[in-house]
């Protein structure tokens, strides 16, 4: 039951390494071989897909209360989020947070959770880097 959900073309060469890594439970983004920084979104520069720790901070979010795309019925309401990733300065990852919105603050630590794109609705069989809050334990 994934009718209408906007699934990615995981074979598109510009993003295939991203989706392949996610299927293995890894977050990888394209870092430029020449020059500095990440080639995000991919422009065709020569890159290596480096593995990232999967932690970061919440840059901003919104709460979509009603499906604005018919395919989103199974995930709505949901938290749309942009995440600044540790190890990838300058990149804001587009993702969803699997959290109740009243717990969120900008700058909050978050951590990746590889799960089905359609979570919590019908399965899509595509694994993606969604995020949850990262509750860092108080060591004092």
């Amino acid at each position: 039951m994934t009718a209408g959900f906007p699934l990615p073309d995981t074979t598109d060469p510009r993003l295939a390494p991203f989706w392949e890594a996610a299927a293995q439970g890894e977050l990888r983004l394209p870092r430029r071989v020449h020059g500095t920084g990440f080639d995000w979104y991919p422009s065709g520069a020569e890159v290596e897909w480096v593995r990232l720790p999967g932690t970061g901070r919440l840059f901003t979010w919104s709460v979509v209360e009603r499906p604005l795309h018919s395919g989103y019925a199974g995930i709505t309401p949901y938290v749309s989020a942009l995440v600044e990733l540790d190890g990838a300065p300058g990149v804001r990852l587009v993702t969803r947070l699997l959290e109740a919105p009243d717990r969120l603050t900008i700058g909050a630590p978050v951590i990746v959770r590889f799960t089905d794109l359609g979570t919590p609705g019908p399965e899509t069989a595509v694994i993606a880097p969604l995020f949850v809050l990262h509750c860092v334990k108080d060591k004092s």
């Binding site: 699934l7 510009r14 991203f18 901003t60 749309s80 587009v94 919105p101 900008i106």
Partner: protein, 402 residues
């Protein structure tokens, strides 16, 4: 904040070279089942009549690139029974291009390629939406990186982009929901006083705004533009010719265009809570020899309240980050002019409450303000500014009374 995230397109000065001599519209509405082509024709016919010209006088036509159902030379001749050669340009239309069309028109007027040029834009998205096709999300849904990456994560369509921007603006600058609401309310009051506004009969108070449910938190339905049917056109010629026509000419004094390096990949824009107006507006004011303090009436492409707010800041009407406090109260009302500390803003109601004609109706409204024939007339309006926006691009168009 570094400014390496975009740039101003280098433009030669066209100050004083183009006059807007006629404006016209097809009535804006909710679903009407009128075709874009028919509405464009009606708007063109009204603009020609407004200028005191005849269809045979028209020798230039500007339309928006890449949008189906816009006008053509063949449609013009079919409607008006004319045969003359028409210069046709795809550098016109609405959004950013409602502000930059005069720049392309200036070259055609200068070389004599055309003498009377119409810029027209028509849209039937209210009817398309009712039919389950088309609409503002289509471009984004079809773009490769968006389809392959953003849509699968629920980052779609535009309300989701700009709700995230609004949340970040609130975080960085302390902007509040009530301040966004002040924009929605000011524009609704203007629509209530404008005979052509779709929301003319629907009042909105700030209390009512705040009581409305969130659609994409922190934005409500009232923060979103309408979806409409309608069309508008404006007629350009030289100031010399315009002085012999029916209406007082409005002179184009400055044009600026700004570009964001990230284009419509909003999530990656270097300054996340800004618009390319940051680059367009200074260029236009420099061309015109004017400053934001000289502007009597402002109309800005307002797909969402937050986008209006950011452009007010980025065009220099207040300091960056102070837009929330600036728009509160009655500052944006047409009745409170600059002399009283106001900034008459989207005096027809804008995309939020007049109609979603993607900005060309904003330019029509400003021309009427400078002629003194607006429904919500700003007293002694002599200088008008339009802020056009496409996401990845923005434009500023400065117009003055002759």
């Amino acid at each position: 904040m570094s400014l390496d995230w975009g740039w101003a397109t280098p433009l030669e000065s066209i100050a004083g070279q183009v006059a807007i001599a006629g404006v016209g519209e097809a009535p804006a509405s909710e679903r009407s089942d009128r075709s874009a082509l028919d509405m464009a024709g009606a708007a063109i016919e009204a603009a020609i009549a407004d200028a005191g010209l005849t269809p045979a006088d028209i020798d230039g036509l500007m339309i928006q690139k890449g949008m189906a159902g816009q006008y053509s030379a063949a449609a013009f001749h079919a409607r008006f029974g004319t045969r003359q050669d028409l210069w046709v340009s795809e550098a016109g239309g609405a959004m950013t291009w409602a502000g930059t069309a005069p720049y392309a028109a200036a070259a055609a007027l200068r070389t004599g390629r055309a003498r009377h040029i119409l810029n027209v834009f028509a849209i039937d998205w209210a009817s398309q939406k009712a039919a389950g096709t088309g609409g503002p999300g289509d471009y984004h849904a079809g773009e490769r990186m968006k389809a392959g990456y953003e849509l699968p994560f629920g980052y779609y369509p535009q309300p989701v982009y700009f709700a995230g921007v609004a949340r970040r603006h609130m975080h960085e600058y302390g902007t509040t929901e009530a301040q966004l609401g002040a924009i929605a309310v000011a524009q609704r009051v203007h629509a209530n006083g404008h005979p052509g506004a779709v929301m003319r009969e629907k009042p909105l108070t700030l209390d009512q705004y705040l009581a409305r449910p969130m659609l994409v938190d922190p934005l409500r339905m009232e923060d979103f533009c309408l979806i409409s049917d309608g069309a508008a056109a404006y007629l350009m010629t030289t100031p010399e010719r315009a002085s012999d026509l029916a209406k007082p000419p409005v002179i184009v004094q400055g044009v600026g265009e700004g570009v964001s390096r990230a284009g419509t990949y909003f999530s990656q824009q270097g300054d996340f809570t800004a618009t390319p107006q940051r680059f367009a507006a200074p260029a236009a004011f420099a061309m015109a020899g004017l400053s934001p303090a000289d502007v009597d009436v402002l109309a800005v492409y307002d797909p969402f309240t937050i986008v209006a707010l950011m452009q007010i800041e980025d065009m220099g009407f207040c300091a960056k980050g102070e837009g929330g406090g600036f728009v509160a109260g009655d500052r944006l009302s047409h009745a409170r002019g600059r002399a009283k500390g106001g900034l008459p803003f989207n005096t027809h109601g804008g995309l939020l409450s007049h109609a979603y004609l993607l900005g060309i109706a904003h330019v029509v409204e400003l021309v009427r303000q400078l002629r003194g024939e607006a429904a919500n007339q700003v007293a002694d309006a002599r200088v008008a500014a339009y802020g056009g926006f496409t996401g990845g691009d923005a434009s500023t168009l400065l117009m003055v009374c002759a």
